[in-house]
């Protein structure tokens, strides 16, 4: 009997590790091979490394311990990663971009580690590599699949023409880029249209939480601005995006007006920006803000945990806004109880952006569970 394995198989998303371990230890030879392969594939593709620690005999690759930051300088060229200028434990260099990339990637690592018990981007201690001073006049920051990259803004223009400062200046930008890495190892949200906007929103959510935790701010205290400080004084704006009030972050003669919608009624079907991933992300961003507002206190504790568990365990590559609403609602119920204040807050959050949570057939969870049960019956039915 051949059992399917691979990253797309629903069993990987549902079967708890202890059940797989049972099969790996007590099943027939073929069942043991399947369970080990499933665990290994799940480890590789989903990033749930806690299973590794529980099953050392399965010989997964070693897990690195602690922060391992390296900052590179591209010297305003575009070759990556550039020359090493600061490694873990080194003293500050005096170069603001280098030291911000170091400190803020550390703060991001700490949020994931101390609050969500996640060991770096891949949950296996992946070293954090950042390149600063990338390119000339490079007004951007990005995650290239392996590392973070930051430009200096408009350093190549005369002072009076500059609109953007260096991109390491805002801690939430660093948290945003690192979270793209987390998403890459977990839900792998396809970077197009709604799943792409969810990918972007996850990065804004955890980027903002890194900042709020650094400042010890409650949801009520936080400004919920992404990229505060990035604009020079020449721009009429407070930042790049507002999670509290999408569409209001800037309104400038050169840059135009912040195009983000805050409600599904204003969703934008566009053929650029990968179908508007940085634009329609305003909708799930605002849903998260409302959940945090409803719950009060530190947003990373409950709202953040619900979103993190959804990203880690539930969302899938093509999850759209409705799926995300259903799955965060599901997670809130699992973490805090059905009908709990937390679950009601999630319903309210999505409702305020025009999405009604459906905990029935609309959930992507249902077919996976059924498929899981079926396959489990097949596996266990043939054992011993």
């Amino acid at each position: 009997m051949a059992y399917p394995t691979g990253p797309e198989h629903p069993l990987q998303c549902i079967l708890p590790p202890h059940m797989l371990q049972n099969i790996a230890e007590h099943g027939t030879a073929e069942q043991r091979r399947w369970a080990v392969a499933t665990l290994a594939t799940s480890e590789q593709f989903r990033g749930q490394r806690t299973a590794s620690a529980q099953f050392p005999s399965l010989a997964f690759r070693a897990v690195a311990v602690g922060k391992q930051r390296t900052i590179f300088n591209a010297d305003n060229q575009t070759n990556l990663p550039g020359r090493t200028v600061r490694s873990e434990g080194d003293d500050p260099t005096g170069d603001a971009a280098v030291d911000e990339a170091y400190d803020y990637s550390g703060a991001t690592y700490d949020l994931y580690k101390e609050v969500y018990e996640r060991n770096s981007i891949d949950n296996q201690g992946l070293p954090l590599r950042s390149t600063v001073h990338y390119g000339q006049g490079y007004d951007n920051a990005f995650w290239n699949g392996q590392q973070m990259v930051y430009g200096d803004g408009d350093e190549d223009l005369p002072a009076d023409d500059r609109l953007f400062n260096r991109f390491t200046l805002s801690i939430d930008i660093v948290g945003h880029e690192l979270t793209h890495g987390v998403t890459q190892y977990e839900a792998k949200l396809v970077y197009y249209e709604q799943s792409g906007a969810m990918n972007e929103s996850m990065s804004d959510v955890f980027g903002s939480l890194v900042k709020q935790r650094q400042l010890n701010q409650t949801a009520a205290d936080a400004d919920w601005i992404i990229g505060q400080g990035l604009f020079t004084s020449k721009v009429n704006g407070v930042g790049i995006r507002s999670m509290k009030a999408p569409g209001t972050a800037y309104d400038d003669p050169v840059l135009g007006k912040d195009p983000q919608p805050a409600h599904m009624n204003d969703y934008k079907n566009i053929d650029y920006d990968n179908g508007g991933v940085h634009i329609n992300s305003g909708i799930p961003n605002h849903a998260f803000y409302v959940v945090a507002r409803e719950l009060g206190g530190f947003a990373w504790e409950k709202a953040g945990r619900i979103w993190y568990v959804a990203l880690r365990d539930k969302l899938q590559a093509k999850s759209n806004f409705q799926d995300s609403a259903n799955l965060t609602f599901l997670v809130a119920g699992q973490l805090y109880g059905a009908g709990s204040i937390e679950q009601q807050a999630v319903r309210t959050g999505w409702s305020e952006v025009g999405i009604t949570v459906s905990s029935g057939n609309g959930s992507t969870e249902t077919p996976d569970l059924e498929g899981c049960r079926e396959l489990l019956i097949r596996v266990l039915g043939g054992s011993r």
């Binding site: 920051a141 990005f142 991109f167 793209h180 195009p259 650029y272 920006d273 990968n274 940085h278």
Partner: protein
């Protein structure tokens, strides 16, 4: 020669779009743009250059239309590309057009 330029995406998601008639630009700018278009072999590039892996990188859409003495009919070509996949000469052209587009938007 006319150029239609669009940059979208990036961390900021800011869209910049502008159209230029080369003969209407400053002489130095026009010469630099013409030279970079030639150096990049623009009319030989595929219509789409895939971006590859990564998030928050810029997306570009560039259309160049011309009717030179040696062109029996108007020629127009559009290339859509991600920044990481653009050839080096194209990177220089894209940066130049970004600065020109921003200048046009500020007027």
């Amino acid at each position: 020669m006319q150029i239609d330029f669009e940059r979208s995406g990036g961390f900021m998601g800011l869209r910049i779009a502008a159209s230029f008639v080369l003969d209407e630009l400053d002489e130095a700018d026009a010469e630099e743009v013409r030279s970079l278009i030639n150096a990049s072999n623009f009319f030989s590039l595929p219509a789409r250059i895939e971006s590859g892996q990564g998030m928050d990188q810029f997306q570009y859409r560039l259309t160049v239309s011309r009717q030179e003495a040696f062109d029996p009919e108007p020629v127009s070509h559009t290339v859509t590309m991600g920044e990481a996949s653009a050839p080096p000469e194209m990177q220089m052209l894209l940066r130049k057009l970004t600065v020109l587009a921003r200048g046009q938007q500020s007027r």
